[in-house]
C-alpha cells in the first residue's frame, strides 16, 4: 500500500465520529493546559491516561497526541499575554511576544503564533507520513544491540541538555532505570525491590510517578511562592497579521519548520530546544538583531513554528523504532502498551488503521487548532484571569483522581504524593525529573536488549562496537558525556540547557 492509500485509510479512521470527538477533546484540553501555567502536557496526559482505558486504542492515542501538539499552540497565548510561558517550549516566545502585546500588537502576535504553528504542524505531519515508512523499513534490521545503544544515546542527549550538573542528571537517569525494574523480572520471575508488597509486584505505575514529579511538585512549588501574575488587560483586537508581518515571518516560519522537524526526530531532542535554537538562528540571520527582545514578530513566528514542528516529528522515533525521544513520548509509549499495542517498525504493518489513523488525525487536529485558537483567544484571556488560588485545589483533585483511577488503589495516591515531595525537593537541589522519567520507561527495554545482546554474543561486550549503528550511537553518547570537560562545549551546552518538563 502506498503512502496516499494508507493516508486515505487513516482519514477513514480519523473521520469516524468517535475519533473526531476525541481528537477535538485532545486539542481542546491541550490548548487549555497550554494556556494555564502550572500544568504541562506531561501532567495532563498522565491525568487523562486512565480514562482512555475504556476507549479504543485509536481514540486514546488520537486524544493524547492532540493534547501534546495542542499544548504547543496554547502555550504561546500565556507567553504573549502574561509573560509567563504556559509550557516550557514557549519560554522564548515571552521575549518578543509580550513586548508586542505591550505595544498594542497582541493580536498579530497571537495570530502569527497560531498560523505558524498550523503551518509547522501540518508540514511535520507530511514529513512524518513520508519518513516514517522508510525509517520503519530500516529499523526492521535493528537487533537488540542497536536498540540498546540507541536508547543509551537518547538518554545521554537528554542528560546532556539538562540544566545544571550532568552528574546529577546521570544520577537521576540511573535512579529511573532502577525504578523501572521494580517488580517481577520478566525472564526469571524473581521479584526485585518489591519489599514484599503486593502493590509493587507489577512494578511502579508510570502515571503516579509522572503526576507526582511533574504535577504535584509543580503545584507545591507554586504554593510555596506567591504567584503574582501581570495580566494583559487590554482587549485583543485584529488577530490577522499584516502583509508586513507576513513578509517578516515567512523566512522564520520556513526555517523553524525544518529546524524543528529535524530536532524533533533526534532522541533526547524536543520542542523546547527547537524553539530556543530557532530564536537564536533568527536573531543571527536578522539584519536588525537589535529589534529582538523588543517586539520583533520573527521572535514569535520562528520559535512557535519550530516547537510545533518538533512536537510532530517527535512521533517518528516512537512510531517507527518504539523509542520515545522525550518524556511526553515516553508517556505516549506507556499509553500504547496499556492498550496492548507495541510501537515499532512493525506497527504500520500490524496495525495500519491505528498508525495511519493517528497520522491523519494530526492533519485534522491542526485544522481544529487553527479554528479553535483564532476565535477563542478572548476565552483563553478570560481563563487566565482565574486566580491560581482557585485553580490549584482543582488541579490537585485531578491529580488524585488520575493516580487512583489507574488501578483503583489508594497506594498509587501515596506513591504520587511521595514522588511529588521528591520532585519538589529535586527542583530545590538541582536534580531534574526528565531523565528519571525517560529512564524509568526505557529501563526495562534497556535491560531486555542488553541481556539479549549479551546472550547472543556469549558475553562479548565488543559486540556493541562491532555493529556500525550501535557503535556510532555509543561513540556519540561518550563524546557528549565527555564534551562538558571542554569549556567551549560546556558553554554551548549551558546555552541549550532546558527543562524538557
Amino acid at each position: 500500500m502506498d503512502v496516499f492509500s494508507s493516508l486515505w485509510l487513516g482519514l477513514g479512521v480519523a473521520f469516524q465520529p468517535i475519533n473526531l470527538m476525541f481528537c477535538f477533546a485532545g486539542v481542546f484540553i491541550g490548548t487549555l493546559i497550554g494556556v494555564l501555567p502550572g500544568i504541562g502536557p506531561v501532567a495532563a496526559m498522565s491525568l487523562l491516561l486512565p480514562i482512555t482505558f475504556n476507549i479504543t486504542p485509536e481514540a486514546a492515542i488520537i486524544m493524547l497526541s492532540g493534547i501534546y501538539y495542542g499544548s504547543m499552540y496554547g502555550g504561546s497565548t500565556t507567553a504573549i499575554l502574561v509573560n509567563i510561558p504556559g509550557e516550557a517550549a514557549s519560554v522564548i516566545t515571552c521575549l518578543d511576544g509580550y513586548q508586542m502585546a505591550r505595544q498594542g500588537r497582541a493580536g498579530p502576535a497571537l495570530g502569527m503564533a497560531a498560523m505558524g504553528s498550523f503551518i509547522a504542524g501540518t508540514l511535520a505531519v507530511i514529513g512524518l507520513m513520508f519518513l516514517a515508512p522508510t525509517l520503519a523499513m530500516f529499523a526492521v534490521k535493528f537487533g537488540p544491540a542497536e536498540y540498546f545503544s540507541l536508547m543509551v544515546l537518547g538518554l545521554t542527549i537528554l542528560v546532556w541538555l539538562s540544566q545544571g550538573s550532568i552528574l546529577k542528571a546521570l544520577i537521576m537517569a540511573c535512579l529511573g532505570v532502577v525504578l523501572g525494574l521494580v517488580g517481577i523480572d520478566s525472564i526469571t520471575a524473581l521479584p526485585r525491590l518489591t519489599f514484599d508488597k503486593m502493590q509493587l509486584i507489577d512494578g511502579l505505575g508510570l502515571v503516579p510517578i509522572v503526576m507526582g514529579l511533574f504535577g504535584i511538585a509543580e503545584i507545591l512549588v507554586n504554593i510555596e511562592q506567591k504567584l503574582d501574575r501581570q495580566i494583559f488587560e487590554a482587549n485583543v483586537k485584529g488577530i490577522m497579521p499584516t502583509k508586513k508581518d507576513w513578509q517578516q515571518s515567512a523566512g522564520p516560519i520556513a526555517r523553524g519548520s525544518v529546524l524543528g522537524f529535524f530536532l524533533g526526530i533526534l532522541p533526547g531532542g524536543g520542542a523546547v530546544i527547537a524553539s530556543f535554537l530557532s530564536y537564536a538562528l533568527e536573531r543571527k540571520l536578522s539584519k536588525t538583531p537589535e529589534r529582538f527582545g523588543k517586539g520583533a514578530i520573527e521572535g514569535v513566528a520562528g520559535p512557535e513554528t519550530a516547537n510545533n514542528a518538533a512536537a510532530g516529528a517527535g512521533f517518528i522515533p516512537l512510531l517507527t523504532l518504539g523509542i520515545p525521544p522525550n518524556v511526553v513520548m515516553a508517556l505516549l509509549l506507556g499509553a500504547f502498551i496499556v492498550h496492548g499495542v507495541q510501537p515499532g517498525p512493525l506497527l504500520m504493518i500490524q496495525q495500519p488503521t491505528l498508525f495511519w489513523g493517528v497520522v491523519a488525525s494530526m492533519y485534522i487536529g491542526n485544522v481544529m487548532l487553527l479554528v479553535l485558537n483564532m476565535p477563542l483567544i478572548g476565552l483563553w484571556v478570560q481563563l487566565l484571569k482565574v486566580p491560581y488560588k482557585i485553580l490549584f485545589p482543582m488541579i490537585l483533585l485531578f491529580c488524585v483522581i488520575g493516580a487512583y483511577s489507574v488501578s483503583n488503589q489508594v497506594f498509587d495516591i501515596y506513591l504520587m504524593l511521595g514522588f511529588g515531595i521528591l520532585g519538589w525537593l529535586m527542583k530545590k537541589y538541582g536534580y531534574e525529573p526528565a531523565p528519571l522519567v525517560l529512564a524509568f520507561v526505557l529501563g526495562p527495554m534497556l535491560e531486555n536488549n542488553l541481556r539479549k545482546s549479551l546472550i547472543l554474543s556469549q558475553g562479548d561486550f565488543m559486540f556493541f562496537l562491532e555493529r556500525p549503528i550501535s557503535a556510532t550511537c555509543l561513540i556519540l553518547a561518550v563524546l557528549l558525556l565527555v564534551s562538558p570537560l571542554l569549556p567551549m562545549f560546556n558553554q554551548k551546552r549551558r546555552e541549550l540547557a532546558t527543562d524538557e518538563g
Binding site: I171, C174, L220, K389, F392, D460
Partner: protein, 155 residues
C-alpha cells in the same frame, strides 16, 4: 557551626541509595556476562550511580562550582504550607475508601480553599461544591471512572 552544603548531603543520600541498589542486585543473582541474571543491571546501575554520587560529593567538598547550604532553599519560602497541603492529601487518601469520593473530596476542597489562600466561606463552599460535582459528573457519570462510594454509598 559549619553549614552543611546541599550537594554534600544529597550526594551522600544518593550514595546510600546506590549502595542499597548494588547490594540488592548482588543478592538477587548477577549471573554471568553470557547469561545475565536478575540482579545484573541493578548491581551495575547501583555501582555507576555510586560513582556519580561520589563525583558530586567530591565536587561539593573541594568547592568546585556553585554551592549553597542545605537549609538556604527554604529561606523566604512557605514550606509549612507545602507540608500542610501534603498532609491534607494524605488524610484524604486515607479516608477515601471509607467515606467515599464525594464526601472526602468536598471536605478536602473546602479546607484547601479556606485555609491555604484563605477565601470567604461562600467562595470556599461554592467552589468545593461545584468542583466536586463537576469532577463526579465528568469522571464518574460521563467517563465511567470507578471512584469509591464509601460506607454511605454516595456517588
Amino acid at each position: 557551626m559549619t553549614r552543611l552544603k546541599a550537594d554534600t548531603v544529597t550526594s551522600v543520600i544518593a550514595l546510600a541509595v546506590a549502595g542499597y541498589i548494588a547490594h540488592e542486585g548482588y543478592a538477587l543473582d548477577l549471573g554471568t556476562a553470557s547469561n545475565p541474571g536478575s540482579g545484573f543491571i541493578l548491581f551495575w546501575t547501583g555501582l555507576v550511580m555510586a560513582g556519580l554520587s561520589t563525583g558530586v560529593l567530591i565536587g561539593s567538598l573541594i568547592g568546585s562550582g556553585p554551592t549553597f547550604s542545605l537549609g538556604s532553599v527554604f529561606q523566604d519560602s512557605r514550606w509549612g504550607k507545602v507540608l500542610y497541603v501534603v498532609a491534607l492529601l494524605v488524610v484524604h487518601a486515607a479516608l477515601l475508601e471509607t467515606l467515599g469520593f464525594v464526601i472526602t473530596t468536598f471536605v478536602l476542597l473546602v479546607v484547601l480553599f479556606k485555609t491555604v489562600e484563605p477565601q470567604s466561606w461562600g467562595v470556599s463552599l461554592a467552589g468545593a461544591f461545584l468542583t466536586t460535582a463537576a469532577a463526579w459528573g465528568v469522571f464518574v457519570a460521563w467517563l465511567g471512572t470507578q471512584l469509591p462510594t464509601g460506607m454511605f454509598e454516595i456517588g
